[in-house]
Structures are given as structure tokens and as C-alpha cells.
């Protein structure tokens, strides 16, 4: 397992801390057309993912691994279907803790 470039748990608010770095974010898919997927992040803000999803259909909730662009969108690497029911609040809390007090546990 390659741990050289760990992905940070982010929501929309935390994106600007990780520009140019690898992140992972959970998003609720709102619209998916062309090469862009618009989603709602775990803190209720808009999240733009600039890339085409894999051929398999996306479920309502998707977690994306990718690099953060300068315009705060994500260029995706890996798409993971999270199903149709996920607790966004817990994920959001996780993002906050992983970025704040417990950063040393994650990065």
C-alpha cells in the first residue's frame, strides 16, 4: 500500500488548504454531464469534480479521490460508490477532526 501521498478527508470548506494535494471527499451527486460532476459536499456546499466517472453507474453518494485544482475543483483518480444512504454529518465531523485536532493521526 502506497502511503507516500495520503489523501486528506475534506469538505468544500477545507478544499483551499489542500490545493495541489491529494484529497478524498464524499459528495451527493446532483448532476453529472459531459466531463463534469456537480455534487453537494458534506457541509452543504457545491463541489465540482472535473472528470468523467467510470462507466459503471454512479450511486447517489460517491467518494472521490483526487488532486485539488486551483479553482477548488477536484481532478478525480478513483471513484467509489457509497450507496444511496450515508450519514453525511458523521463524514463532515470526521473531516473537521482530521483537519484540526487530530491531523497528526491522518497525514
Amino acid at each position: 500500500m502506497d502511503t507516500s501521498n495520503p489523501a486528506a478527508f475534506v469538505n468544500a470548506e477545507l478544499l483551499h488548504f489542500y490545493v495541489g494535494r491529494r484529497v478524498r471527499a464524499l459528495t451527493q451527486v446532483v448532476r453529472s454531464d459531459g466531463g463534469i460532476v456537480i455534487g453537494k459536499s458534506t457541509d452543504e456546499k457545491q463541489l465540482v469534480v472535473k472528470g468523467s466517472p467510470p462507466p459503471a453507474p454512479l450511486t447517489t453518494f460517491v467518494e472521490v479521490f483526487g488532486i485539488v485544482n486551483n479553482d477548488k475543483s477536484i481532478t478525480p483518480d478513483i471513484w467509489t460508490n457509497f450507496g444511496d444512504a450515508v450519514d453525511m454529518v458523521s463524514y463532515n465531523k470526521l473531516c473537521q477532526l482530521a483537519h484540526g485536532e487530530y491531523k497528526h493521526l491522518f497525514l
Binding site: 453518494f61 467518494e63 467509489t80 460508490n81 457509497f82 450507496g83 450515508v86 450519514d87 454529518v89 458523521s90 463524514y91 465531523k93 470526521l94 477532526l97 487530530y102 493521526l105
Partner: protein
């Protein structure tokens, strides 16, 4: 240390009062070897000690009875000793009085001379030797109870004329007219700590620290009423005073908290520890002959209250139903809620939280009047942004959910009191405390499903010795199944109904195809199969064996016992059976466990039974763990919770 000698002790003794048992001080001890005579004609030299006794104002000589001689020799009685005279007489001899001490108790072996006592003039004080002589002779006579003519005269320097001494009679002052007999002599004030039922006349001077409510009751003897109040004296001694029926009428309106009274002629009985939490083995019961006098002058030597505050962190380890004092900052006050009590009466309840510098906070439950008076005041103060200091005297510890403190009838609350502890707390809070987090030793008020759910980890079962008390412990644990014993996972059960429940007793084979139940006394073809699962459960702290019966077994295995039994024994499909068992391993559940220590043979073993095995709801479990993380505890356990919650997050898809 200031000691109060019995006021006017010396004049009282000289006046004939020999029942007061006063506290006096020994100013001097003199060794007087005397020549005495007894019934045989040989004069004998006896060692006698003469004491100079003082009541801080007057002093007088006294002779120590020879049986007490060793007290002087062993220095239990010496110059400066404060003693209590228990048995003593005062006999007149010509124109002076002789005090003879027959029994006494040393209270303080060595003490500075109290007061500035002056010799008490009963009349001319003759020289030491002669007094002693005469007294000894009188005593010898009275002890021997002889009526024979004295044989002493010749040995005496003074010409003491022999005369027939009648049997010992109290001095004339005593004869039915004395103050003692009329029960009018002023009683001596003694410390509360010295009170006991064998005490003669006593009086105490103390301040009322608590006054109980007037309670009416009804028992086999009819209706009655009772009230109690607590006293504190200048030596820090405390005692409860109780009045019944007619006595209540006399004193209920007289007694006021904070005032000082002199109380006398009460009965002393053992204290009832259930209600009386003062540190005294006795309790005073006032009767119709008791006296209670208000002392109007402010006696500053008597403190207003006696507290022994405990830090909130100590309360966690205190026994249920203990009574204690606590002081803390009120951080939140909830509104009054009407609560229906067991006896059908409705009362008010308020919950508030107290925080102190020990890093812990505790819930304080106020009942009844406290909600309306102090409770309302505290609510207003907290709403306005002030955080008042509250001192609680005599709160009761309750361990229903965590440890909390509740008010009882004798509880007293003091808002922003003027104590050094209060000032300390205020200081701490203003500087540090108001921003510091504290761990609540009471369960948090936020309800999480059933309110009596106590979450524990597997290692806590052993570490905290759960199940060892007489009642079983019920806890909730989130754990995974790590092993299932497959040799005997079920048993054959009786399917017959007894009332509305199934018998379920283990049945035995009868013949080849039938089953027999011993309880129902019947035979039948088909039996029921019920789980008797022995499994190991595992969490991040450890693992332990548990037993699951039918309902919990089905929740864990997701197959009925009958199906599995069939698979294993009838079809003998070991492969499929093994697959099913394996698939059950490492599934997480929220287990509700009943833990109880039981006797197996001659060994005490802790038995854990799974009462319910709920499938893990990742969402609510994550929220629970996030809540735990939010309370700043030690970073170590937080890391555990954080990594465990990441783990759970990954399960969500």
C-alpha cells in the same frame, strides 16, 4: 485551644452541689503524708495528695481519695490538668469545707492555667496538714461505718475532741432544701462532645445550624408530630435535638436557625443513623421538663455552620446514599418539572450542574421547595450570565445513572456564601474554570435511546469487577463475535405451554423416537430446539466469553437453532455448517449484557449473558463516538475512538 471550665464550679461544690460533675483545673498538687487511724489502734502513715482546684475564677483545696493516688504518680493528674470531677463530696469541718475527690476523669493532661483564680474563702483556711488529717479521719470513720468512739485524738496536734460520728449524712445544706434537690441549681455548660446518657445534670450552649420541618405521622399509637434541629457548639461538636408531640408546640416557634440557645434537661438516646447524619452517637430528646433558653448576646465563639466539602472528583467513588457537603459553580439550571412520586403526591424537580476545580462536574437534583426558592434564584442568576457559587450541606449521593447528588429534607443550600472555599472557587472560575472543560460524573442529560444504557468496553467488565454485587449489572457493549462454540450450541427443549410461556425445559429421549419432559410429565414426538450459544466477543480492549439464549442466539446466527441442528446432525453437512459459522465471525453488534457472579461448585465465576444483540447502526454509532471525541478526555482514548470511527465509516458502503 480554649477550654471552658465549669463556671462557678467551686462555689457550687462548697454550696453543696455534688452532682454537677464540673470541669475544673488542677493548679497544684501537693504530697501530704498523713497520720491516720483506722479501727485498729495503730496509727498508719498514708500517702495522700492534695489538689488545688480552680474553676478559672476561684480555687479551693481538695483531697484526692487514695484509690486515685496513682493518677498523680503516673502524671495523668498534674499541675495544669483539666479534669472532670465525677464523684466527690464536700464535708464541713468546723468552719471550713473539705472537698474530697472520689472519682474523676482527666480531660486534658496538660494545659495552661486558665483564668486568674483566687482562693475561695469559705472561712479561715487552716494549714494544709490539719485539713487533711481531719478529713482522713472523717472518711476513715465513715468508710468503716463505725459508731465507736474515735480513738484519734491523741495523735492530733489540735485537740480534736472525739465524738460519736453518726452514719454519714449529707451536710445540712443538702437536706431537701438545697437547690439540687429542688432541681433548680444552674446546670454546668459542657461541650456537646462530652454529652452522654450517664451524665448527670448538663447544659449545652450551641447555635442552631438546621431546623427540620414539622412532620405529622400516624402509627399504631395514634397521631403524632415531630421536628428536629441540629446544634453546633464552640468546640465544633454537633448533635441533633428531636421533639415529639406536646414538646413540639413548646419549642417549634422558639427555635430559629442561626441563634444560640442554652438547652438543658433533655434525654440522651442513641442517634438514628438512617436520618441523623451528624457525627455524634447520641441524640437529644426534649421532654416537658427540658429547658431551652435563647442567648441573645452574639457568641462569636460558636461558628455558624460546619462544612466538610468534598471535591466533585471524590464523589465518583463514594457509596450510594452517602451524605456529604459539596461546593461548586453552577453552570446550568434546568426549569422545574413536576414529578409524580410513589405515594401519589406531586413534587417539583430541578436539575442543575455544579462544576469545581477538580475537573469534574456533577448533576444536582433539587426537590420540592428548593426548586421554587433557591432553584428559581439560581436560574435567574445563570440566565443573566452570572455563575453563582453554591454550597450544599447534607446532599445525598445517588448512583442511578453515574453519580449525582439529590437534596433531602435536611439539605441546606447557600448561594454565593462568604466562605474561604467559595472565594477560592470564584477566583479559580474567573481565571481558569469558566473555559475549562470538565467531565461529568453523572450521565449526560442528552437521551440516547433507553436512558439506562451504560456503555462499557470488554476490559471494563473485569477491571471494574462488574457483576460482583448482589444485583446483576446491565451494560451495553459494542463488540464483534470472535468465536462460536459449535460442540453444543443448542439443546432439545419442551415445546409445551405452561400458561402463556413455553416450558423450555431440557427434554430427554424416551424410547427411540419420543421425548419426555420431567416438568410437564409428558411425552411427545417433536421437541423444540433452542440456542444455548457459548461465544467469545471481542472489542478493542479485550475479549470475553458470553452465553446467548434463544432470542439473542437467533439474532447472532441469523438461522434458527433447529435449522443448524438439522444441518449438523441430520444432514451432517459439515461444510455448509462451517461456512455459516465462519460467516458469523467478526460481525459487530451492540450487545446488551447481564453480568452476575454465580457459584459454580465451590468457585465464584462471573457469568455474562447476552440479553439482546442489536445489529450495528453505523450512523448512530458514529455519532455516539463523535460525541465521545468532542468531550476532551485523554488524547489516548480519543485516538482510539477516532480510529475506530474511521473504521466504522468505511463500513458504510
Amino acid at each position: 485551644m480554649s477550654v471552658n471550665l465549669t463556671a462557678n464550679a467551686i462555689p457550687a461544690i462548697i454550696g453543696g452541689d455534688v452532682n454537677a460533675k464540673p470541669l475544673v483545673q488542677v493548679l497544684d498538687v501537693a504530697d501530704v503524708a498523713l497520720i491516720s487511724n483506722s479501727n485498729n489502734s495503730q496509727p498508719q502513715q498514708q500517702q495522700r495528695y492534695q489538689l488545688l482546684l480552680s474553676d478559672a475564677v476561684s480555687s479551693h483545696h481538695a483531697i484526692l481519695a487514695s484509690q486515685l493516688n496513682d493518677r498523680v504518680r503516673t502524671a495523668r493528674v498534674q499541675k495544669g490538668s483539666v479534669v472532670q470531677l465525677l464523684d466527690y463530696i464536700c464535708t464541713p469541718l468546723r468552719n471550713h469545707k473539705i472537698i474530697m475527690v472520689l472519682n474523676m476523669e482527666t480531660i486534658i493532661p496538660d494545659c495552661e492555667i486558665i483564668g486568674n483564680p483566687k482562693p475561695y474563702k469559705d472561712s479561715d483556711l487552716p494549714t494544709v496538714g490539719t485539713i487533711a488529717n481531719n478529713t482522713v479521719e472523717n472518711l476513715a470513720r465513715s468508710n468503716n461505718n463505725s459508731n465507736s468512739a474515735a480513738q484519734n485524738a491523741s495523735h492530733n496536734a489540735q485537740n480534736f475532741r472525739p465524738k460519736i460520728q453518726p452514719p454519714y449524712q449529707p451536710p445540712p445544706a443538702y437536706k431537701g432544701r438545697g437547690a439540687i434537690l429542688k432541681n433548680e441549681a444552674p446546670a454546668r455548660i459542657i461541650p456537646i462532645a462530652a454529652l452522654n446518657p450517664y451524665q448527670g445534670r448538663w447544659a449545652i450552649k450551641a447555635r442552631v445550624t438546621a431546623k427540620g420541618d414539622l412532620r405529622r405521622y400516624n402509627n399504631a399509637r395514634g397521631d403524632g408530630k415531630v421536628f428536629s434541629f441540629d446544634l453546633l457548639d464552640s468546640d465544633g461538636g454537633e448533635i441533633r435535638v428531636t421533639c415529639f408531640n406536646a414538646v413540639v408546640d413548646r419549642f417549634y416557634n422558639v427555635i430559629e436557625v442561626g441563634k444560640v440557645y442554652m438547652i438543658s434537661k433533655g434525654n440522651l438516646k442513641p442517634a438514628q443513623k438512617n436520618f441523623n447524619h451528624l457525627k455524634n452517637e447520641w441524640e437529644i430528646f426534649l421532654e416537658s421538663t427540658s429547658t431551652v433558653e435563647l442567648c441573645p448576646d452574639e457568641d462569636d465563639s460558636i461558628p455558624k455552620q460546619k462544612f466538610s466539602f468534598r471535591p466533585i472528583s471524590d464523589i465518583e467513588n463514594v457509596n450510594n446514599n452517602s451524605i456529604l457537603d459539596v461546593i461548586g459553580v453552577v453552570t446550568s439550571v434546568n426549569p422545574s418539572v413536576p414529578i409524580l412520586r410513589k405515594n401519589g403526591m406531586e413534587t417539583q424537580r430541578r436539575i442543575l450542574s455544579l462544576k469545581d476545580s477538580s475537573g469534574r462536574s456533577v448533576e444536582l437534583t433539587l426537590w420540592g421547595e428548593f426548586c421554587n426558592k433557591e432553584g428559581q434564584k439560581l436560574q435567574e442568576m445563570v440566565d443573566a450570565g452570572f455563575f453563582p457559587i453554591l454550597a450544599v450541606k447534607a446532599g445525598k449521593v445517588n448512583d442511578f445513572s453515574g453519580k449525582s447528588i439529590g437534596s433531602i429534607s435536611t439539605t441546606q443550600l447557600f448561594i454565593n456564601p462568604d466562605f474561604p472555599e467559595a472565594h477560592c472557587l470564584r477566583d479559580w472560575f474567573d481565571r481558569v474554570g469558566k473555559d475549562s472543560a470538565s467531565l461529568s460524573i453523572s450521565k449526560d442529560i442528552t437521551p440516547r435511546g433507553p436512558t439506562n444504557e451504560i456503555r462499557k468496553t470488554v476490559s471494563q467488565i473485569k477491571d471494574e469487577g462488574l457483576g460482583r454485587s448482589d444485583k446483576p449489572d446491565w451494560i451495553t457493549v459494542r463488540a464483534a463475535i470472535s468465536f462460536i462454540k459449535t460442540d453444543t450450541f443448542c439443546y432439545t427443549a419442551c415445546p409445551l405451554m405452561i400458561g402463556d410461556r413455553q416450558c423450555n425445559k431440557k427434554v430427554t429421549r424416551s424410547g427411540n423416537t419420543r421425548w419426555q419432559c420431567d416438568r410437564c410429565n409428558q411425552e411427545f414426538e417433536e421437541c423444540d430446539y433452542r440456542y444455548l450459544l457459548q461465544a467469545q466477543i471481542l472489542d478493542q480492549t479485550g475479549l470475553t466469553w458470553v452465553t446467548a439464549f434463544q432470542e439473542a442466539g437467533e439474532e447472532i446466527m441469523e438461522y434458527s437453532a433447529k435449522e443448524l441442528c438439522f444441518l449438523k446432525y441430520e444432514q451432517q453437512d459439515d461444510e455448509k455448517f462451517g461456512e455459516i459459522i465462519k460467516s458469523r465471525l467478526f460481525n459487530q453488534f451492540v450487545f446488551r449484557l447481564k453480568i452476575k457472579e454465580e457459584l459454580y461448585g465451590d468457585e465464584q465465576k462471573v457469568k455474562i449473558t447476552v440479553v439482546k444483540a442489536d445489529k450495528l447502526d453505523y450512523s448512530s454509532e458514529s455519532r455516539y463516538m463523535l460525541d465521545l471525541i468532542s468531550i476532551p478526555i485523554f488524547v489516548g482514548s480519543n485516538c482510539c475512538a477516532v480510529s475506530a470511527s474511521i473504521d466504522t465509516m468505511n463500513h458504510t458502503y
